[in-house]
Symmetry: C2
Subunit: 210 residues, 2 copies
Amino acid sequence: MEKQERKVSMAVVKRLPRYYRYLSDLLKNDITRISSKTLSQRMGVTASQIRQDLNCFGGFGQQGYGYNVASLYKEIGNILGVDKAYTTIIIGAGNLGMALAKHNNFEKRGFRLIGMFDVKQELIGQKMRGFEIKHMDELPAFMKKYRPHIGILAVPKEGVTVVAQKLVELGIKGLWNFSYVDLRMIGEVEVENVHLSDSLMTLSYKINQK
Amino acid sequence: MEKQERKVSMAVVKRLPRYYRYLSDLLKNDITRISSKTLSQRMGVTASQIRQDLNCFGGFGQQGYGYNVASLYKEIGNILGVDKAYTTIIIGAGNLGMALAKHNNFEKRGFRLIGMFDVKQELIGQKMRGFEIKHMDELPAFMKKYRPHIGILAVPKEGVTVVAQKLVELGIKGLWNFSYVDLRMIGEVEVENVHLSDSLMTLSYKINQK
DNA sequence: TAGATTGTTAATCGATTAACAATC
DNA sequence: TAGATTGTTAATCGATTAACAATC
């Protein structure tokens, strides 16, 4: 896990979750070792790329043998911070917010939802995964008490900048933004924008060009 | 709109929806013309990149003037296929499927949801945007009658390959896949995979590396 | 030991940025 | 016309792939 003198490029980082997923599948199928070549065939990438990518973080393999699936899985998990058990809160209990809350894939990947906030009175108090949806007014006290790491933004785009700013002031570490605006925060917070419409339009482009 | 002898790279294509969005904002603010330089500052990219990107599709600008916002917006929309009014169906009426169905941003971008399918009896017949959720058994007849362009896959990953295969056989043009599996279809269909967990883990990485 | 496969350096390819002549 | 800004070519930068010595 040691290494990484120079900054790892985002192109590499964005491939890590995919490796993690494939290793998880291998593990489920009781495969204990894998070579970069075999994995490359499964994933549809080059073996060279896999070795290059992994070597950004350390020499996880063994010459003549390949990689031990279980330990590589664990290493990548550590790099991604899965072991950190990051806690999340969702801002916005609309359709998307609710769907994200009920989705349990994230819990499986080590992220724990501990709070959900909205401003609509009819939503406040509603039960969700063992806690109640709270009003935004309670956010500061909640943040102080539980110090969640990640804020999931599922609010209309009009409100997102203000909410994001508030969360940053209250010490959030990362923002996962689903609002249709490019959040570009300054300072200590990390941001990942998810623009579903962009993805749909990319698909549309591909269909349209045929 | 003419041009494009050689294949446009995916890096460029994936930036088009973002241009489209910024142009939409400019339009709303009654800005009629914009130079690549001004736009580049707004978007946080280089002016050079904007000009290069747009010139993959044609010369939309005018020397000494810049770009006309309304017409560039329209051109990019055409390239993306917004004018085609592609129709969609959602497979899987779980939390995510429901949230996507109720989300109206996609309609705004020119995509019209015309059907929703599941296998769970308790969901069948439920009203959604003016139509009823149907059983998967009715899919072939529906496809034959309405010829939807895009299938939105919001089913558990175990079932997704079979469903995708069926949709392809029935003539779907594109698949927007939310299941946590890399769909790689052969043949005529275009696929766009959305892996929310991957995105969350990328955010986690960034937080973890600080 | 011989065979396999890594880690890593070097070569290639593609994408981004810079520069500038063309032109509105 | 002079100034602005494009479209496009050339230069740079970064990412991917190939090659191979190191080594299990």
